[in-house]
């Protein structure tokens, strides 16, 4: 299959080498090597079933033991795809936001402090500070600052998703993985989440999976196109969208398939 992978020549946050993901007898991701530049937003696009979500979830070791992940994932010059690696620490460094908002059935405050407390942060001043900064970063602070003790389930879908972003940010991760974070949201909420992402770019590396090409072109700096479990094209977003190197990418972007 014809592929085109452009070199970035930038400082990398994380990269994969020959990554493959296998579910039982089914291989979902083949031989994928990608580089994700630091403090940039990289979008992964592709049709449903192209393996993009599966790929994303292997980056912070979210697959359970029934799934085989082969190849290397280099983060801070360590291959984190090894059994001896502390996967809990990996996930603290590489946070994740999911397709559907999944706040805990707890208060807004506890949604953020729960993981912090379990990680040994108990000083209430530090906790309060983290709540405020994370919620501000996720652009939710102004909407909820007066009732932090309200159940998170009472928030709107968009607010819930931003709470989930804030929750991930509270751990001060390095990289934020987002798996179609706006697909369950209405346009206004989507816009808010995207605005949040653009703001976060200066402090975080963001990798976002989306099937929405407009979204990819709006928010991302780099774009990777997945098809049938393989990386077909990777380049700066404007190049991918305006001058795709591979015919398949062009077809996909112009809506000829998928």
């Amino acid at each position: 299959m014809d592929t085109f992978i452009a070199p970035t020549n930038l400082e990398l946050a994380i990269e994969t080498k020959n990554l493959e993901v296998i579910y039982g007898d089914n291989q979902a991701v083949f031989d994928s090597s990608l580089e994700f530049p630091r403090h940039k937003i990289t979008a992964i696009i592709g049709a449903s079933g192209s393996g993009k979500s599966t790929y994303l979830r292997s980056l912070n070791r979210m697959h359970d033991k029934s799934v085989t992940v082969n190849g290397q994932i280099i983060y801070r010059s360590v291959d984190i795809n090894q059994p001896k690696i502390n996967e809990y620490e990996v996930r603290k460094q590489i946070g994740m936001v999911f397709q559907r908002p999944n706040p805990f059935a707890k208060s807004i405050r506890n949604n953020i402090t729960f993981a912090l407390k379990k990680n040994g942060i108990t000083d209430s001043r530090v906790l309060e500070e983290r709540i405020e900064t994370s919620l501000k970063e996720a652009a939710l602070w102004d909407e909820v600052k007066d009732d932090l003790d309200k159940s998170a389930l009472e928030l709107s879908g968009g607010q819930q998703q931003r709470l989930c972003i804030a929750r991930s940010l509270s751990l001060r991760p390095d990289i934020l993985l987002m798996d179609e974070p706006a697909s369950a949201l209405d346009p206004i909420s989507t816009e808010k989440v995207e605005a949040t992402m653009r703001k976060l770019r200066k402090d975080y590396t963001i990798i976002i999976v989306t099937h929405n090409m407009q979204q990819a072109s709006r928010v991302s700096d780099y774009t990777a196109f997945f098809h049938q479990g393989r990386v077909i094209e990777f380049n700066r977003t404007q190049d991918v969208f305006q001058t795709p190197h591979v015919k398949m990418t062009e077809d996909y972007i112009s809506g000829n398939f998928g």
Partner: protein, 300 residues
């Protein structure tokens, strides 16, 4: 930055937590396994003693009809027949009621009606079997006597009492299986112009059949093992039942009646343990049947 790299390579608190958590949960399930195995082994050993130590024949036990272990007569057939009789009959009566109540709770009045019936069903579960037995003795037995003659004791009285006792089991499991039928089945059927009953009968009940069968089998397992309530209304005569209103005895009633009057290690005592083993085997069989139903349901 090396500090973070370091952390990636070392086990942390979370790692230990997970190990500890796994240990606790494995321990618990292991404990249950040990309990089950010990009770199985225990009853098997005692239940086989009659055949191994007292030299009785299994065929006599299963197919002969004279039960008087004190005189070396160990035919358990009357109890086996009666146990199956009350179990089948009670399931037969209970199933339509259970399905009706379950349908009412899921299809007709899923909000208030369901809540109300839920409370009722939980209360039925809460009534102790002794009380069922006493009420059976005070009401069901005389009623059967006036309507059908005889003494009133027998399979019919037992089945009526058991019907009420297994109703909650069958109903709640049926509710679960009806709830598991995907919503769009209903919508699709109704959209095609089917009436509610056609939808229920042709679509929902059909889709839920394996689940309902499972519910019935679990109800039967409960009925098979029930002792005190049945003992009060069955008549406890170790004879093959002539009809539904002739006194007879179930495996459980014979077991509870006799156990205190026999001496450990003697034939009469061992014979009762063999009845217990039979009960155990039956509950295994019921579970096996459930497994088979589940497998068949999945293939369809």
């Amino acid at each position: 930055m090396d500090e973070i790299k370091d952390r990636l390579l070392k086990p942390s608190k979370a790692t230990h937590e997970d190990q500890r958590g796994k240990f606790i949960s494995y321990l618990s399930i292991g404990l249950i396994a040990v309990l089950v195995i010990s009770i199985l082994v225990f009853i098997t050993i005692h239940g086989l003693a009659m055949f191994t130590q007292n030299g009785m024949k299994i065929s006599d036990f299963l197919f002969k009809t004279d039960w008087n272990p004190g005189k070396k007569l160990i035919g358990a057939l009357p109890m086996i027949v009666t146990s199956f009789g009350v179990t089948l009959l009670s399931a037969l009566i209970a199933t339509p009621f259970a399905i009706a109540v379950a349908l009412f709770m899921t299809e007709f009045a899923p909000k208030r009606g369901a809540k109300f019936l839920q409370v009722i069903i939980e209360l039925l579960v809460g009534i102790p079997s002794v009380i069922y037995g006493l009420i059976g003795l005070a009401i069901v037995v005389p009623a059967v006597r006036t309507i059908y003659g005889g003494t009133g004791f027998g399979i019919l009285a037992g089945a009526i009492v058991l019907f009420v006792m297994v109703l909650p089991t069958i109903t709640s499991l049926t509710v679960d299986s009806l709830k598991a039928v995907p919503r769009h089945y209903r919508q699709a059927s109704l959209a095609l112009g089917a009436t509610r009953w056609q939808t229920i009968y042709k679509v929902i009940l059909r889709a839920a059949t394996p689940g309902i069968l499972t519910a019935v089998v679990f109800g039967m397992a409960r009925a098979f093992g029930e002792a005190l309530a049945v003992q009060m209304v069955i008549g406890n005569a170790a004879m093959l039942p002539q009809n539904l209103t002739s006194p007879s005895a179930t495996l459980t009633s014979q077991l509870t009646m006799g156990i205190g009057n026999t001496i450990m290690g003697t034939l009469p005592n061992n014979a009762l343990w063999s009845l217990a083993l039979l009960l155990l085997i039956m509950s295994l069989v019921f579970n096996l049947v459930v497994k088979l139903i589940a497998r068949k349901g999945r293939i369809k």
